[in-house]
């Protein structure tokens, strides 16, 4: 057996208490996994992002925008060029969010970071490529030469002009005080069910 591994094995009479201690740690970890809905982070469901209520403004504004018909959060906010980069980015960003949220250091008005901006911009182009490639539109804007190649496209961000798409210019938790995110009760109240029966 590996000597390092052997060194970790406690003496015989200590084995039982150590197993109990490890059980407590594993149990607590599982509990943590469960209460934080950790499994949901593997999905693309926008509701996952409102596990932390500080994302309510972003969810509510998206839900009232035309983008809600064609995108979810991940379509824009994580890279889609390859699976490895997607999950690396998601893990990196997610762990940062979780840390900031746990330490209660999140700002009142949340602004996107440079790394996130690049990803969102890439994703704007991923879906709206046609608009950029259409020579007529490029000519109209008088930027035919500049618009050659990806480099130029990355220089100016889409939302420098399209400021309202899709979250609007109003931000911060106080900006959507009564947004309905997750219904807590079923749509048909018990009293009505009883009345109809």
């Amino acid at each position: 057996m590996n000597p390092i591994f052997r060194a970790l094995i406690p003496p015989t009479r200590w084995r039982r208490p150590v197993v109990v201690a490890l059980g407590i740690i594993a149990g607590l970890s599982l509990f943590l996994f469960y209460i934080s809905n950790a499994a949901s982070y593997l999905s693309d469901n926008p509701k996952t992002c409102t596990n932390c209520h500080v994302m309510n403004p972003q969810f509510a504004t998206w839900q009232h925008s035309s983008h809600r018909e064609v995108t979810n959060c991940n379509d824009c906010h994580v890279p889609h060029d390859n699976v490895v980069r997607k999950y690396f980015f998601k893990t990196q960003d997610g762990l940062r969010h979780a840390t900031i949220f746990t330490l209660r250091t999140e700002p009142d008005v949340i602004m996107i970071k440079e790394m996130g901006q690049r990803v969102v911009h890439e994703n704007c182009i991923r879906c709206h490529l046609q608009v950029l490639e259409n020579p007529e539109e490029v000519e109209e804007s008088g930027e035919e030469e500049e618009a050659e190649g990806e480099v130029e496209w990355m220089q100016r961000k889409c939302w420098e002009c399209h400021r309202e798409a899709p979250h609007g210019t109003v931000k911060g938790l106080a900006s959507v005080p009564h947004a309905m995110i997750t219904p807590q009760k079923p749509p048909v109240p018990e009293w009505l069910k009883k009345l109809v029966k």
């Binding site: 201690a21 943590l32 009232h64 009564h178 309905m180």
Partner: protein, 490 residues
């Protein structure tokens, strides 16, 4: 044991302390997660406690000033679009033909373009259709007519039961139904979740074999409207509530104009017998939701609230406008959320559709008036009931299709193509009726054209059908000054 102690006592201490620290930190993290999850619930805690049956919109408004203020905007009557809007428009004055089409039914007395939710109760007092009851057991209408007017309704239904509420004359609940349509009709008082409060929608879903309690939030943003903005009838044969005007949506076999007509024919429902043609007529109410289901906006996942209750910005806050009105009143918050065309262009797109549907609808109305007058001429000439029966069936169908298209306020925009199809069916049914009647008239040796009546004004049309609106208005005035004052205390 001695051996271990002597050799490395610190190992055990390290193990002990290490485990303790790890468990302590894990516990701390877990409690933090639980705490922050609980915070989520408190993001949305109202300050004033609202009870289950709170019907006063201003009490809800204390917690939700912006929503309430926008709701009060439904009191505005200054917006007019091409044909509708929120202004008071006497529709019988606009189109006196309607008086003839509804001859023999209360709608020929009074029919106005509906004003905002704020006026729901006031306008039902004012309508000549509700008459001028002198006591709680007097008057032409049942209590069922209150169902869609007020958040006082669920409260009274819980007290009286559903059939118990519908039972009795309209005047008997006058002192209970006070607050106009508002918060409690669509919201849960504790969580503010959207909820269903009217039994008819739940019963209609059950009849269709659908589970209303599985509705998603986006579906609920239309379904709360579908509690009222739908086609309905008063079922006098509801099991366990016979002879009570039981509010029922005719959706059992589907919500299209055709399946509802088939349903009505199957159950043998008749709203009124036409005063001139004696045809057993169906009065379409306002199949707004059903028509919307056949349009492209529904197909693309849009809900009623998306256009009629847009997300508004006021200062630094965003909220849902509760000023339910025509989306054309603020195109920037409605159409332009999805469509990038200019305001003028979008209005033109809407009006173009409405104008075209109106054009063929007008034609179908003229033909229907002719059919009613010609049927009357046939009766006058001595036609028999078996002779007339097939033609009257066609008139019934024709009027149903026409009224389905006409009665839904937004139909010609919500589903222009479907409305054109339905109006075409109406015209087809009318021509079948007129052909049969022409043959009867020919058989009875009446070969002269039946003249189109002089109905250029509402007064002329109402006189033609023998309505004494002067007395009706006089009685209404008296009713408003005495009975209604005793109800409202104002």
């Amino acid at each position: 044991m001695e051996n271990t102690k002597k050799r490395k006592p610190w190992v055990n201490w390290a193990l002990f302390i290490g485990t303790m620290v790890l468990v302590f930190l894990l516990g701390l993290l877990a409690s933090s997660v639980i705490q922050r999850k609980a915070e989520k619930e408190y993001v949305f805690k109202p300050t004033v406690k609202i009870s289950e049956w709170e019907a006063r919109n201003e009490v809800w408004g204390m917690n939700f000033p912006r929503e309430f203020q926008s709701y009060m905007g439904t009191a505005d009557t200054s917006f007019r679009s091409l044909y509708n809007g929120n202004a008071f428009i006497d529709m019988l004055e606009e189109e006196p033909r309607l008086v003839i089409l509804w001859a023999g039914y209360a709608f020929s007395k009074d029919y106005n373009q509906p004003r905002g939710h704020f006026y729901a109760v006031e306008d039902v007092y004012n309508s000549l259709r509700t008459g001028a009851p002198k006591g709680p057991d007097d008057g032409p209408q049942p209590n069922t007519c209150w169902t869609c007017k007020s958040p006082d309704v669920p409260r009274m239904m819980a007290k009286l039961g559903v059939a118990g509420f519908y039972k009795g004359k309209w005047a008997s609940l006058g002192s209970e139904i006070i607050n106009p349509i508002g918060c409690g009709d669509c919201h849960d008082p504790e969580t503010m979740d959207l909820r269903i409060t009217r039994p008819a929608l739940l019963e209609a879903f059950t009849a269709m074999g659908k589970d209303l309690s599985k509705a998603t939030h986006q579906e609920m943003r239309s379904l709360v409207c579908a509690q009222c903005h739908v086609e309905y009838y008063f079922d006098k044969k509801h099991p366990g509530a016979e002879d009570i005007s039981y509010l029922t949506f005719p959706w059992k076999d589907g919500t299209s104009a055709d399946s509802m007509l088939a349903y009505y024919n199957k159950v043998g429902h008749v709203d009124f017998v036409h005063a001139f043609s004696k045809a057993p007529i169906l009065k379409a109410q306002h199949p707004d939701y059903e028509a919307f289901l056949t349009g492209v906006h529904y197909d693309r996942g849009v809900a009623c609230a998306d256009c009629h209750m847009p997300y508004m910005k006021e200062g630094g806050q965003k909220f849902t406008s509760h000023r339910v009105t025509s989306p054309l009143a603020y195109i920037n918050q409605t159409c332009q959320v999805c469509h990038r065309e200019s305001e003028e262009k979008l209005i033109e797109n809407v009006y173009q559709r409405q104008r075209k549907v109106k054009e063929i609808r007008d034609q179908s109305e003229v033909l229907l008036v002719r059919a009613h007058m010609e049927a009357k001429a046939a009766w006058d000439a001595g036609a028999t009931e078996p002779e007339m029966q097939p033609a009257l069936e066609h008139i019934r169908n024709a009027q149903w299709y026409w009224d389905y298209a006409a009665a839904g306020h937004g139909n010609s925009f919500h589903a222009p193509l479907e409305m054109a199809r339905i109006i075409a069916k109406s015209i087809d049914e009318t021509s079948s009726a007129r052909l049969l009647i022409a043959r009867i008239l020919q058989k009875l040796k009446r070969n002269a054209d039946v003249p189109y009546p002089d109905i250029t004004t509402k007064e002329k049309a109402q006189k033609l059908i023998g309505l004494d609106t002067k007395t009706l208005s006089q009685e209404k005035k008296e009713f408003l000054n005495t009975t209604v004052k005793s109800w409202t205390g104002r």
